[in-house]
Amino acid sequence: MDMKKSALRKEFYREIRGSLQRFLSILLISALGAAFFAGLRACKTDMLLSADAFYDRTNMMDLRIVSSMGLTQDDVRAICAADGVRAAEGVFVQDALFSDGDEDVVVRLYSMTEQVNTCLLTGGRMPQGVSECAADEFFLSARGLKLGDTLQLESGSGDGLSDTLRKTQVTIVGSVSTGRYLSSARGSSTIGNGKVAGYLVLPAENIIPEYYTEIGVLFEGTRELNSYGDEYDAVVEQCMEALQAVRPERELARLQQLQQEAYRGLDEKESEIALQEQELRKAGQELKEAQQTIADGFSEAERGREKLAAERNGLPELFAGAEAELTAGRRALAEAWEKYNVQEAPVLAAREEYDSYVRQLSDISQGPEDIRKILEVLGIDETGIIEAEQELEAARSKLEAQETALQEKEKELEAQKLQAEEKLAAAERELAGTEQELRRRESELLAAKQEYNSSLEENQNKIAKAYEAVEEGRKEIASMEAPEWYLLDRNTIESCVSFAQDADRMDAVSLVFPGIFFLVAALVSLTTMTRMVDEERTKIGTLKALGYGTADIAGKYIKYALYATLTGSVIGVLAGGKIFPYIVITTYKLVYTCLPEVVMPLHPVYSVVAVLIAVLCTAAATLAACLRALREQPAELIRPAAPKAGKRILLERVGILWRHISFSRKATLRNMFRYKKRFFMTVIGIGCCMALLLVGYGLKDSIGVMAHIQYGELCRYDISVSLDSRAPESGFAKQFGSMPGVSGASPYREAAVDLTSGATTKSVRLIVLPDAEAFDAFFVFRDRNSGEQYSINDAGIFLSEKAAKMLGVRAGDSVRLQRDAADFREVRIGEVTENYIFHYAFMTESLYRELYGEAPVYNGCYLRLEPDASEEGTAAALLRDYDEVASVLVTGTLQRQVDEMLRSLNVITWVLIVCAGMLAFIVLYNLSNINITERRRELATLKVLGFYDSEVSGYVYRENVLLTFFGILLGIALGRLLHGFVITTCEVDMVMFGHIIKPVSYLLSSLLTILFAALIGILMHFKLKRIDMVESLKSTE
């Protein structure tokens, strides 16, 4: 017994050595199946683990708290004290601009943190000085910036950055990455072009505000958990509850603090206003005083003038006495002169007489003495005359002295008069000057007064208003509502979620494709082992004839397959478990550029399952192959198997057709159907290859079409403006509509409502437009399958397709529409329309009125632009020029965002193309090999008959071409099925993927499949060339 077994064992090992190619082919397909299973299954886990490792390394917050009114250090302290919180740290976030050439680039500024959301330094050093910063690594490379560059930051919103930053000129000293941003998307902003290009991390010293924009929180025990796992979610949820408990108190505290601050501010403002008021009053007072002074001046001048006049009047009186005296003097003098004259006359006469005597005497020439003596003698005495004359002379000089004195007096008086006159004139002049000055001041004052008066009212109003504002401010503060905290976990971080979604998509793919590979592995094993058993039927017969049991004989083949499979699948698991996640993650890193790590642990469960499945597949196939042979009698087995008889195929019964088929085609067709197992295997193999490719391309189509159809065809608006409650009730649509570049506008009301049908409730967005025309202008309603377009009417709502599907309703059904907890309305569904993103219910205004008895409050506006108008420009203008515009969505931007996401799907497509290629290769290589081996004699005969190598290959290829064709047909069917499955698995609640595969994808997939088949064909050609014609001379054995 032992002897026998050892002989068998020896034979077994020789068998493996002798048929290494066969052994390897089973080993390889098992390896591939196991590698695909273990590798692809591990992809999702490894992707998520890699992301988680990065999150842990950068201490990414488990939760961030954002408040509507900012957060404080006290909040941080309170959060730290809450149960389950490991660390909490506040961070200040603000968007700023810097100009890069002509372009304003938006950057998000983060204050530097030490415990939570720390950055991973990838180059340079962390910032230390107040004017240093670390920058987003991706942003640096995307913008072509380098360490050492300096950015001049500006605020994009009008008020400068001076309230925020001490230094607005910052130098980049380090490059960093953070778990918050895995992909290249950096979010949107309200400033600049609205697109954040990257982030900067600034040291806290550079940041002025003392409050925080958000607080990052790390919980106890989350670090050890995978952040995409359920356990993690449970811990976070639990800790969140603890924070919810802290929250009301802190919200209130913040309110009070803000109120106090605000009150203080108002108080200050009020005293400022009071000061202003006082000043205003003082200015009035001063004006009045100045006026008085001027008036006083005038009256004084008047008085002066009066006095002067009086003085002038008093002047004659003043000199009257002196004049009278003078007049009297003159009169007396005149009288004295008269008297004198009277006295003088006799003297003169006497003199005359005397002198005449003298003269007469002198003629007698007597001397004077003689004369006199004569005269004396005569009785004429001169002495009397002389005396009289002397007396007169004395009187005369007295009078003349008196005359002179009088004249002097007169002169004096005259001078006095003149002096007085002059004095008066001077005083008058002075007075006139004063008066002029006064008049000037008066006119000045008048102007000042006018000005004062004219602005008085305004100023008073202003002050009154300011007071009012303060009062109102007080009221407002008093009525201020407590800020609301938002506790946002990692599920609100975009890249965190999109990465998980990508991982999920990968997972959906990994569910399907390893299955295909195992199926193919089983098929390959089946054909290979069948062939092996067929080849060894004589040996089996001999062993059976010698008395070996079925178990021993079958055992050999099973063991053979098992060895190959086990070795293969273990190799596959080890290699695939590492290679596939590595390739997938590395490829995804093209999209998630900021993810530094790749974590790929070995997953025991996947590995064991993979090996088990592989072993089961091949073992079952082998058993099936050899049991058939073992059932035969040894005598039959020893004889060579009769060659498979030729048979007419079904097609030949259609004589007309058959006759028109060329001879070589006939042979090909017969050959194809002659080896049915091979036929099916090839068709299945190629079909799977085609299906994989189709799914790969189809996935892109389905998700891509979503954005293109949704934003390119169904939504006909270019911009959707949403307005806050300040918006005027109506007319804004007209206003927006008249903006340059806008060709159409319609107001809309958007509100979240619940639709209920039976037990299912779905939240949808209710869109109300004024009328059907507006709907026609901004939406396309159509049936996805038939393409039939609908026009909305007042009879019912239009419901988006997926919502209808989830609610299980159709056109004509009724649903319950619920605005809030207590407001139910039954409404009929007019049509179900094609829609991919979000759920919508569309309704006309009149239907709304009919349902609710009131007009809808429009809270937004759809705009359509001229073809050449800039969407971004219009959006920016809307935000800038209208305060009531709350947000602006540009359809083109949304479409681009989705397109961006599609790039990550290329990874899956590539993985699938590679898989498909390998699959096609293995299957076709194996089958062609078997085909050639089995038909060696036939092919050798053809060669002897004089077929050229190309003709021999062609003889075989024609079959392969047809098989490939059938395979592609099968692949299309299979691919569509798989595609549907994958799409449904990937699809999230809020979107509906397009269930379409574009014709070009069919074409590409077919071409690739044909390419793979052609490659195998080339390989086979060389194999065919090597077939020896001498084979044809041998007998069948």
Binding site: A645, G646, F663, K666, E938, G946, L1033
Partner: protein, 233 residues
């Protein structure tokens, strides 16, 4: 000038460490229209001669002349053309394509040659007028060999090479096949070479070439070939 002439043809196979001189300087010649039997025991080198003559193998030395052409100098492609246009081959195990009917097997050969004969006529000639649409599996061994001969003849070759055409057939069927070959030679002037280990059929040939140990031991022209039906073995 001889229609076929072999001069000192040598062929050596390397089997592991051992060199086998399958053909150790074979020389013979034959005339057009002759019915030639090449006889010899197993392993003597008959098949090697056949392979070389049929263009299925090349020789290491010597000359092979067929209808004035140096077949030994042909390249692979020319050899194939030679096979398809000038050689008809009849195999011991018929080597029919199982998946094709008798007629189709003939047509398979006709597809590729220059001046083919009509397949149905040839099959009628070999006595298979009624079995044209049967698959090989539905035919007896003798009938299959007739199809094989028809396939070879339909190509209208210069040389019909038959490798043990009766080896897998019973006595009387074998005789009928040989008769068919002989008749073909006589009626169509076809040069027929039959390779056999059975020396008993030698008398029916125009020329008998005996091969032993890779050499021609005897090449005899038979002036009065016997009718195959009269031969017993």
């Amino acid at each position: 000038m001889a229609f076929v002439e072999l001069k000192e043809v040598k062929k050596t196979y390397q089997m592991g460490d051992v060199k086998i001189h399958a053909s150790d300087g074979i020389s013979f010649s034959l005339e057009k229209g002759e019915f030639v039997v090449i006889a010899g025991p197993s392993g003597a080198g008959k098949t090697t001669v056949l392979n070389i003559l049929g263009g299925m193998d090349t020789c290491d030395g010597g000359e092979v002349l067929v209808d004035g052409e140096r077949v030994d100098e042909f390249q692979a492609k020319r050899l194939t053309t030679y096979r398809r246009n000038e050689i008809g081959f009849v195999f011991q195990f018929y080597n029919l394509v199982q998946n094709l009917t008798a007629k189709e097997n003939v047509e398979l050969a006709l597809q590729i040659c220059r001046e083919p004969l009509d397949a149905e006529q040839v099959l009628t000639d070999v006595g298979l007028a009624g079995r044209m649409d049967n698959f090989p599996a539905q035919l007896s061994g003798g009938e299959q060999q007739r199809v094989s001969i028809a396939r070879a003849l339909a190509k209208n070759p210069k040389l019909l090479l038959c490798d043990e055409p009766t080896g897998a057939l019973d006595y009387s069927t074998g005789k009928q096949i040989l008769k068919l070959l002989q008749d073909t030679c006589r009626e169509k002037g076809m040069t027929v070479i039959v390779i056999t280990h059975n020396s008993a059929i030698a008398p029916m040939a125009d020329r008998v070439i005996r091969i032993k140990n890779g050499k021609v031991s005897e090449s005899v022209k038979n002036e009065a070939p016997a009718d195959v039906m009269s031969i017993e073995w």
